[in-house]
């Protein structure tokens, strides 16, 4: 048995030893979820070990375009984020909040989910850690924390990865949410050519790392990791100037650019679905044909959906211009008023996965240009 590394340790393990850590997580009762190749993309799914990772794969990403490509052979994490975010597992797209069953006396209320699944999320990037921290504020702060989110969140193990291969639509350097994982992880990996450096971020992380043959990372290795991260920071595919937010947008609510982007925007909601911080939901009731059982279900919804802003008397945001402006202004301005941080973590998913190839960094730059209107 290896010694348990203290918190904050920077350790090094041979790459194959990652399987020992993953095995320890599985033995501890976690379901392993990590990046894997499926349907022409790197998505999140259940994995069993290193062999299931997208080893040697990467992806080209541009606005409205994603293509899987062979990358550096043997590289475990040589790619940027794909369409899935940890949100899928901590805040699932469809969740049964509770069920009811008719009884002789009336009806009884049953829980929607018996026990929260325990996910070990493998390969979480700095942008997604920042997104999780944001959703923590949304769902856990305040007088009415969400019990469904809390159960999954508290049960989760976060095995993060420092991003050394930013994608074509990445801009976490601009939003200061990456590429290095600084907080909020149990373990954080940095992949060098021969070894994985592992930073210990929690007691749970230390216990799992103890399953592997770790040694302290050398000063040489730490310098190489630092350099690789600094270099990655300079290779972001996008930049976004976040100065003067939120006021910049409040002063430009009638900028002609809103009309121009609305002409291209499909209002299809893809951007909000892939966004790791977007949290809007609809709550719907279901019942069976006999009327004996019913359930209340929460599903991801979007401010781009026409019926989303329907209230008695009409729609608050009847056209695409109003809906795009609502989304961008919430992400980059009112979010700051609401939660004290930007609602954007620079992951670039909304750019890549927009079927109309709309790029929010380009839209913000255009709105920033010209006089306030």
């Amino acid at each position: 048995m290896n010694p348990t590394p203290p918190l904050g340790t920077h350790a090094a393990i041979p790459k194959p030893a990652l399987d020992q850590v993953l095995g320890a997580l599985r033995d501890a009762g976690y379901t392993l979820v990590g990046p894997k190749v499926a349907d022409g993309a790197i998505v999140y799914g259940e994995i069993t070990g290193i062999a299931d990772l997208p080893v040697g794969w990467t992806a080209e990403q541009e606005a409205g375009r994603y293509r899987l490509r062979p990358g550096v052979p043997g590289r475990l994490f040589g790619f940027a984020v794909g369409p899935h975010a940890p949100k899928r597992y901590l805040y699932p797209s469809t969740a049964t909040l509770f069920r009811t069953r008719r009884t002789a006396e009336g009806f009884e209320v049953l829980p929607g989910e018996e026990a929260a699944p325990r996910y070990a999320l493998v390969g979480v990037r700095a942008c997604d850690l920042a997104a999780i921290a944001i959703q923590d504020r949304v769902f856990l702060d305040g007088p009415a924390p969400d019990p469904h989110y809390r159960a999954r969140r508290e049960a989760a193990f976060l095995l993060a990865v420092n991003c050394l291969e930013p994608g074509g639509t990445c801009f976490c350097a601009s939003t200061r949410t990456g590429p290095r994982c600084t907080t909020g992880f149990d373990l954080a990996l940095t992949e060098l050519d021969e070894v994985l450096l592992v930073e210990v971020g929690s007691e749970a992380g230390a216990a799992m790392l103890a399953a592997a043959d770790w040694r302290p990372a050398s000063a040489f290795e730490l310098t190489r990791a630092r350099r690789a991260l600094a270099e990655a920071e300079g290779r972001m595919g996008r930049t976004m100037d976040v100065r003067d937010l939120p006021d910049l947008l409040y002063e430009r609510l009638d900028h002609p650019r809103w009309e121009a982007v609305a002409a291209r925007c499909l209002s299809c909601a893809n951007c909000t679905m892939v966004c790791p911080t977007c949290f809007c939901a609809d709550v719907v009731d279901t019942s069976d044909l006999t009327g004996g059982e019913a359930a209340r279900v929460r599903v991801w919804d979007s401010c781009f959906n026409h019926e989303f802003s329907y209230v008695f008397g009409g729609h608050l945001r009847p056209n695409i211009r109003a809906r795009y402006r609502q989304w961008l202004t919430h992400k980059l301005a009112t979010w700051i008023d609401q939660y004290g941080v930007l609602g954007c973590v620079g992951c670039g998913r909304c750019i890549t996965w927009c079927p109309a190839a709309i790029d929010l960094t380009e839209e913000l730059a255009a709105i920033r240009g010209g006089e306030p209107t």
Partner: protein, 262 residues
């Protein structure tokens, strides 16, 4: 309380949507227990007269006789529900609304004089008031069952008017347009199918018809940017829901060669 009386009627169509009802194998007994199936010729010879509480109507209206029959069905129906693309938008046969029906008649039938049709294929809503629409070619049996369960218990049925993309992303499917460059009508098509086609790596062909306020022009422009000809874009919109207004307008716009590239 008496069980609600259900009837199923058919006009010009392929029967596929009413078959979706018979396809509800696991729920069929529960359904038969919850409602009185009073008129459903595809399932039973027993044909009880109206009035009916819920009438599911499949098919488009293509003859004068169908116009009159549909009006009579409406008189017998407390709740008239159009099921399927033919009933809600005219269906694939509405493609003849862009052509000369007389020419087809002469080309197809040895004695065209016996064939009498309307000059245009019409959705039910063109002829009578329709209380609800279940879209699709065919309809989703899941949505049909939810609709009937909702009517039985008196809650609002779940019929989202938003895009297929919302369902596609909820189920975690990879976008075929972004990851493979496949043209997909999902961003302008109404949800309800569960995003079946994109989940099997093919583009949505819009069988649920236009979502609420679709930006069809922008999607067509994007198809062109992906390498489709304007004619191919026009044909994408002129499919099963060609005659639904937003798709018809987009089809016409992209079919017109005189406005090529602005």
């Amino acid at each position: 309380m008496a069980r609600p009386r259900l009837a199923v009627y058919k006009f010009s169509s392929c029967d596929g949507c009413q078959l979706s009802l018979l396809d509800c194998e696991d729920e069929l007994l529960a359904l038969a227990g919850a409602v009185e199936i009073a008129y459903f010729l595809e399932a039973s010879r027993q044909a009880l007269p109206g009035p009916y509480d819920v009438v599911l109507v499949e098919g488009s209206v293509t003859t004068e006789e169908e116009v009159e029959r549909l009006k009579e069905v409406r008189r017998q129906a407390k709740l008239l529900v159009a099921i399927g693309a033919c009933a809600t938008a005219g269906g694939i046969q509405a493609l003849r609304n862009w052509a000369d029906a007389d020419a087809f008649r002469r080309a197809v039938y040895p004695t065209p004089g016996y064939i009498r049709t309307l000059d245009r294929v019409r959705p039910l809503g063109d002829v009578v008031l329709v209380d609800a629409e279940l879209r699709g070619c065919p309809i989703s049996k899941r949505q049909l069952l939810d609709f009937l369960a909702a009517v039985l218990i008196g809650r609002t049925p779940r019929m989202p008017a938003h895009s297929v993309c919302t369902e596609c992303k909820r189920r975690g499917a990879v976008c075929v347009m972004v990851a493979s460059g496949v043209p997909c009508l999902g961003p302008v098509t109404q949800a309800g199918c569960g995003a079946i086609c994109p989940a099997y790596a093919r583009g949505c062909y819009g069988c649920f018809g236009p979502m609420e306020r679709p930006n069809t022009g922008a999607l067509g422009d994007r198809f062109v940017a992906l390498g489709q000809s304007r004619d191919e874009v026009a044909r994408a919109f002129r499919g099963i829901n060609a005659y639904a207004l937003p798709f018809a307008a987009a089809g016409d716009r992209f079919a017109r060669s005189d406005i090529e590239e602005g």
